[in-house]
């Protein structure tokens, strides 16, 4: 079996609930169905790291819930290692493990107790030794006997990851594994996942809205937006697609949304958006020969501190395909 995960034409609809008594009752009896996933198909090869990249609300978590058997699709089917997840979940549940951003471990138990309980439920051998090793690996030895509701967000994520690898899964499913984490813990998590994939040949399926995460970790990426798969390819191939265009980052003294609007209306500008975290305007233009025109336009609004040319990122690719950035905003 060459594929770890096979998703065939999966669709999923949610019922939209209205607020207020009259609208609430109306939506109870005549629910409005909102598509969360629309005819999604893809395959994840054994031993690869496959990423679902898309903004919040794109359908990533719903898709992962369907893949792990937590939700049933309205249409289509999912197979893991050749077994239909909906029909034969018990056959594959011991081979997979998960981390979900909004799920919790038992918070009335300590970190160590949580690992021991899950280890026993997964039938892990030499459990004591394995738990000690994992606590050590994730830097949680000092917190082993602390109740998990006293853990920080980073510690909970590390413990969840320890739980997720306790059974040496063949497939690891991760929903936004670095969301809300400090940069150093984020790096540690990414390193761990890379090593796990390389050394244990674990197939990893993860969702993220951080383009650098998908870029660094994934062998292949599926761009997802509005419940549809936009395109699947390797990060390198994606970036090669926009190599023909030029990307310029301009640090400006004052940001104005009007400036971004004006730039977007220019025919030589492919996309323009403001990178809040670094305080720069990122503009994709069709040719570097138009740089002077671009600078002239910007100078009409604000002073320029510096101008850099930049390499394409997956976010640029995502914008090109969807017209939106990974935060979901129009670009």
């Amino acid at each position: 079996m060459a594929y770890a995960v096979e998703v065939f034409n999966v669709s999923k609809f949610y019922r939209r609930r209205s607020v207020g008594f009259v609208n609430g009752m109306k939506s109870l009896f005549f629910p409005e169905l909102v598509p969360a996933l629309n005819d999604v198909s893809f395959r994840v090869r054994r031993g690869e790291i496959f990423g679902l990249l898309g903004p919040n609300g794109a359908g990533k978590t719903t898709l992962l819930k369907i893949i792990t058997g937590l939700l049933h699709p309205d249409k289509g089917r999912v197979c893991i290692f050749g077994e239909d997840v909906t029909k034969n979940f018990s056959k594959i549940s011991g081979k997979i493990n998960t981390v979900f951003a909004r799920a919790n471990l038992w918070w009335e138990l300590t970190g160590k107790e949580n690992l021991i309980v899950y280890g026993k439920l997964y039938g892990v051998r030499d459990l004591e030794e394995k738990v000690e090793k994992l606590l050590d690996l994730f830097g949680l030895k000092d917190k082993a006997d602390t109740y998990t509701d006293l853990y920080s967000t980073g510690e909970i994520m590390r413990l969840s990851l320890a739980k997720a690898v306790i059974n040496d899964p063949d497939l690891l499913v991760l929903d936004e594994p670095t969301i809300g984490l400090d940069p150093n813990i984020t790096l540690m998590v990414r390193e761990f996942l890379k090593d796990l994939n390389k050394n244990e040949k674990t197939t990893i399926l993860l969702s993220t809205h951080y383009m650098e995460e998908a870029d660094i970790l994934c062998d292949r990426v599926a761009m997802i937006d509005g419940g549809r798969i936009i395109k699947i390819d390797s990060p390198e191939n994606f970036k090669r697609m926009i190599k023909k265009q030029d990307i310029v980052e301009i640090r400006v003294k004052e940001f104005s949304s009007r400036l971004v609007e004006v730039l977007r209306s220019e025919e030589f500008v492919k996309s323009a958006y403001f990178l809040e975290e670094v305080g720069r305007l990122r503009v994709v233009i069709d040719d570097l020969r138009n740089l002077d025109r671009l600078i002239g336009k910007v100078k009409k609004f604000t002073e320029i501190e510096n101008v850099l040319t930049a390499l394409p990122t997956l976010e640029d690719v995502f914008i090109q395909f969807t017209g939106k950035n990974l935060k979901g905003g129009e670009v």
Partner: protein, 267 residues
């Protein structure tokens, strides 16, 4: 079966640890039961001191056993309708059940482990209550303790099934807390836990007599006060057994149906 038993023992140990995280819960529960028991013993001794002749099983000689039987059995019912429901809804609300449902562990073992913890809580409270009663008051339990234990066990599983139903259907914690508090209070008033149901007006008495809570409490009183044996309580015991089967089955089916629904529309 081996797998199921293994899962059950793992989950049971975890559930007990989770419960003991807040040991004071046990103390408050214990104090609640003992306070009600002592308060009603004082109330009825004052009433009998004023020359009241008694009603049904409640007499000057038997009132301690009367109140004790009601309080012991109410502990069995109340814990299942209140705290057990809360425990399940909290698992949903805190999203701690998500990882469990993705594991290969048995769902039935999960349900039984929660029942085991609730049973432990009830046994501790009731043993303490009996000790208090034996130390402070003179009373005689006439019937078979084994038969009384059978009534306890059936009542426990009967109301555990009902508790699981309430918990499975409840979507949010506050709603369940309010509903189960109100539901168990109404039942405690109607079931004659601390007074005889004969004091009710006729229509209300008929309602009360038809409740499984009243039947279980009256059965225990028949055993303890009149010394009734299996033959005498067989019709009520059979009915309670039937209800236990029904509510347990209903609890399991509702739990699985809600789990199935959650898989269609999300938790």
């Amino acid at each position: 079966m081996r797998r199921f038993l293994k899962d059950y023992f793992v989950l049971q140990a975890a559930e007990i640890k989770k419960f003991l995280r807040w040991k004071e819960r046990l103390l408050w529960n214990l104090m609640g039961s003992v306070t009600f028991f002592i308060a009603f013993v004082f109330v009825w001794s004052a009433v009998f001191a004023e020359g009241f002749g008694g009603i049904g099983n409640l007499t000057r000689e038997t009132f301690v056993v009367f109140i004790l039987s009601g309080t012991l059995l109410w502990e069995v019912i109340g814990v299942n309708l209140g705290p057990v429901s809360h425990v399940f809804v909290r698992e949903k609300y805190m999203r701690t059940s998500l990882y469990f449902f993705l594991s290969p562990a048995s769902r039935t073992a999960f349900l039984l482990a929660k029942a085991g913890t609730s049973l432990m809580q009830i046994l501790i409270t009731n043993v303490f209550l009996i000790s208090v009663a034996l130390y402070f008051f003179d009373f005689e339990f006439k019937g078979s303790l084994l038969l009384a234990f059978l009534v306890f066990t059936l009542t426990f599983f009967c109301f555990y099934g009902l508790g699981v139903c309430i918990a499975a259907l409840g979507a949010w914690r506050e709603g369940i807390a309010d509903f189960s508090w109100m539901f168990s209070n109404i039942l405690s008033i109607l079931s004659g836990v601390w007074y005889p149901v004969e004091i009710f007006p006729e229509p209300l008495r008929s309602v009360s007599k038809s409740l499984p809570t009243t039947q279980a409490i009256e059965m225990l009183r028949k055993i303890g006060i009149q010394g009734s044996g299996l033959q005498e309580i067989l019709p009520e015991l059979t009915f309670l057994g039937f209800l236990t089967f029904l509510f347990l089955l209903l609890g399991y089916l509702v739990f699985r149906a809600v789990e199935g629904r959650a898989m269609l529309i999300g938790i």
